[in-house]
Amino acid sequence: MRSTSLSRPRGSLLERLNGREHRLTSVLFTLPFAVLFFTFTLLPILASVVLSFTYFNMLQTPVFIGLDNYIRLLLEDDIFLTALRNTFVFALLTGPLSYLLSFVFAWFINDFRRGVRTALTFLFYAPSLAGNVYFIWTYIFSDDAFGLLNSTLLRLGLIRDSVQWLSDPRYSMGVVIVVILWLSMSVGFLSFVAGLQSMDKSLYEAGAVDGIKNRFQELWYITLPQMVPQLLFGAVMQISASFAVGYEAMSLTGFPSTDYATHTIILHILDFGTIRFEMGYASAIAVVLFFLMLLFWNMVRGGLRRFGEEEGA
């Protein structure tokens, strides 16, 4: 497979000589990561599946209770339903919107010359890069009249009393969505920018000859089918980010938020895992989350691949 037909005899001899060494090296090279990956990424996933069928409080040994956690989760836990609804808002509305914005703006800045493109890439990526800076939004949306938004609206006479942006359940979810959108240009965006840059330019010329009239036709028939690998990567990153929304909501609107208005599945797990120490129940919530993520990713992957095959052919 690896060697061309010309060098095959030499390659196969070397491979036979080195075969044992290669097998050993491949094990040695993979081992350090494999151990950590298994212990801290795979094992947590597998352990939560097992623990989800138990009652476990970290002190006593887990007690097997069958499907009780799941029954309680789906039938008795109203707050979980709120968390589920909010997570769906982030996964099905905010997430796709973030994804779309990331691509559209990567596409917009692609036509600029290098310097401008670099500056704009940096500007759009800066919020994700800056880490915890999103708390600055609490000064903007502050509940009192010192908040930038409240004071502006008051001065303009649009409101008479300051609005409780962060603690009124009618508004807090909207605020979190704005901040999440602000943070949306992350690794996926960089992948789109880079992918668009490495596009084969001759395809566009060929397209122009074939009668591509405007930039949307160019996007649909040439760019997007070529970008399917990057789009898939961006989709993974987006799904993994959208389902993990929670900590941002927590630092903006408090934990728990008023009427659980911005409660998400992640925060529900955090609640039972770190405050109530009901690890079995927390694991059951985590398993539901894993399942939803896998389901969603498989749907998106299927759709994007089919698009690549149809339009790219």
Binding site: S26, F40, D111, L123, W182, G195, R215, P229
Partner: protein, 292 residues
Amino acid sequence: MSGLTKPRLRAKQKRVSRSFGGNFTVFFFLGLMSLFMALPLVYTVITAFKPASELFLFPPRFFVQNPTMENFTTMARLAGDMWVPFERYLFNSVFISFVGTAGYILIASLCAFALAKYKSRWLTVFNLIVVWAILFRSEVTAIPQYIIISSLGLINTYWSILLPAMSGSFGVFLVRQFLVTSVPDSLLEAARIDGAREGTLFFRLVMPMIKPAWLTLGIFTFQGLWNNTGVTYIYDESMKVLPVMLRQIASAGIARAGAGAAVALVLMIPPVIFFLLSQSSVLETMSHSGIK
């Protein structure tokens, strides 16, 4: 000669599919989006330089009238007043960020090399699992991870932040993608024929070739570790990191709004500098990031 080719190149660059109306729309939305992205960051910087009198001004102003370093001195004073010396928090943060980044670059690159350049059935399976696991970032597995970390007795140690950060599959995926496309097998074969052992091959030949990839991985890892507060795993004050300490300073509400912004500004500097220095490597690497 060059006088002849230049105009032709220009003509090629100006593509037929670009209309004036379209360009206008692009500029309009770019402008709007740039404002949305930039204003909060600009506001952070401005707030950091506002004197207390302007922080309590009503109505609040966006811009600063009398810029001052007051907030930074307050931050330094409060940091100096903590019973754990400031240097300790700084050391914890720097140690965790650099050791974690270097360690992850090493083990992820080693594994990525094996996945990209050796062939065996279990490596293929492992690679599939690695790609699949990108989906689960650490926020999602935090609680089961906590159970494992605490049962290993790693609570209140650097390991509790370092090891999970080095267990993500994103880095391995990124470096592997780069390796597959930019290090030809024939080159490795040639080096083997010259008698290079696999270790030498990896450190002397492969690592220099894939520098953009591990530099990028380094940026992302550093960024994650630098911002990682480890609040779930670290309770011992002397083991806490800079962001936690600085957030304690900033947590006293509006009275500390200026200090809070100063803190944010200071914390923002290292990741921003590293990104700016290596952004061309980052984009080069990300162009290989596609999932087939």
